[in-house]
């Protein structure tokens, strides 16, 4: 598989959320607004890319029996780095995302890609795969967050789109709305793939 396809698969054909159905918890929980989705996505880009990089680098020296433990320590370290960074330089977003930022440690996408790809491929391929998957995760969260924010409060990224006469669908901000929109997006993608 060439580099371009390796990268693009994470954006569409093997999308981590809409096709692989991984990392659903943060996807549903933080997409109450486009901005939250975007910042969560950026945190995951950092964690997934650097975790895959390190896992790929040390894949030959890690004994099989402890590989999951080792990957988890590495992932947890990068997540904590991101958490500290947010707390220091973007404290508002740190409060917005709350416990979901540290919870990236148990996001299946990260451990999944480390185990399924980074531990079995060279450094370049692993990094490109990580970038593609996390970019896909980010656009997915941004779209889901935008839809929920638009119909739930009439705004996107804080800019009012639907005027004062729009009566917001509060359910969109609640978990039920998250499930509904996510389901529709997955169905939509399946339909597009079928054609």
């Amino acid at each position: 598989m060439n580099n371009r396809d390796n990268f693009l698969k994470g954006l569409w054909s093997e999308h981590p959320v809409f096709r692989q159905l991984l990392g659903m918890c943060p996807t549903l929980a933080v997409t109450t607004s486009a901005k939250n989705g975007l910042y969560m996505g950026m945190a995951v880009i950092f964690v997934l890319t650097f975790s895959s990089l390190v896992v790929s680098l040390i894949k030959k020296i890690v004994p099989n029996q402890v590989r999951i433990a080792v990957y988890t320590v590495i992932i947890a370290t990068f997540v904590t780095v991101v958490d500290i960074f947010f707390k220091a330089y973007i404290p508002d977003m740190s409060r917005q995302l709350g416990p979901y930022l540290p919870l990236i440690i148990v996001n299946c996408i990260i451990l999944g890609r480390c185990e399924a790809f980074a531990s079995k491929n060279n450094l370049k391929k692993s990094t490109i795969d990580a970038l593609g998957m996390s970019a896909g995760f980010t656009w997915g969260l941004f779209v889901l967050g935008s839809i929920r924010e638009l119909f739930g409060s009439g705004m996107i990224l804080g800019f009012t789109i639907l005027g004062k006469n729009y009566n917001p669908l509060i359910v969109m901000i609640l978990p039920a709305g998250a499930f509904i929109v996510l389901g529709l997006l997955v169905a939509g993608m399946n339909r597009l793939e079928q054609k």
């Binding site: 040390i58 004994p63 402890v66 080792v70 590495i74 960074f85 220091a88 709350g98 978990p175």
Partner: protein
């Protein structure tokens, strides 16, 4: 045996490197994080006591308390921090109380990691508004039904532990502060 040594060696090395990296990052950011926390405190006090022009930090026994004065230098109340164990992790509260320590002006939750959607609701207006102008002479009580007596707080449905934690934390701190109150001035 060789296998086991290798396992121990790799795990230990990875953990050591990670610990070193984390210590490095944290030491660089610790100062900035403290600045942010102080800013958060200032904003919270401004929200709860809009008339406070001057905020003076004084120590009261082992605790710290903030004297709030208006622009005429008159004492209008006190602000204090309280911290306690919630359902998930610690909860940090800022409370503003009147000069006689008899009535809370209100509280703000500075830090909490409670369950989103349940315990997390302690940060919402519906729960916090119960603490506005709340008499604390007989201590606070967390109840599951509607609040009937003075000083009663209705717990959030499905989040009794978190709600109780907020009330207990404030109560404990009030007891400590009231015992030292004669040392004020």
């Amino acid at each position: 045996m060789k296998e086991t040594l290798r396992i121990i060696g790799v795990l230990t090395s990875v953990c050591l490197v990670c610990a070193f990296l984390l210590a490095l990052v944290y030491s660089r950011a610790a100062e900035k994080i403290e600045v942010n926390q102080n800013q958060r405190l200032k904003t919270a006090i401004a929200n709860l006591a809009p008339g406070a022009e001057k905020v003076e930090e004084v120590s009261l026994g082992d605790s710290t308390i903030f004297k709030l004065s208006d622009k005429k230098q008159k004492l209008i109340g006190y602000a204090f921090l309280a911290q306690g164990q919630g359902y998930q992790d610690k909860i940090a509260i800022l409370a503003v109380i009147d000069v006689s320590f008899g009535k809370l002006s209100g509280i703000e939750i500075l830090e909490s990691s409670e369950t989103p959607g349940l315990g997390g609701k302690i940060q919402e207006t519906d729960f916090l508004k119960q603490f506005k102008q709340l008499p604390v002479n007989n201590g606070l009580e967390c109840v599951k039904t509607e609040a009937q007596a003075d000083g009663q707080i209705k717990a959030i449905t499905g989040a009794t532990v978190s709600s109780r934690a907020v009330v207990d934390t404030i109560n404990k701190k009030l007891v400590v502060l009231k015992s030292e109150i004669k040392n004020l001035k």
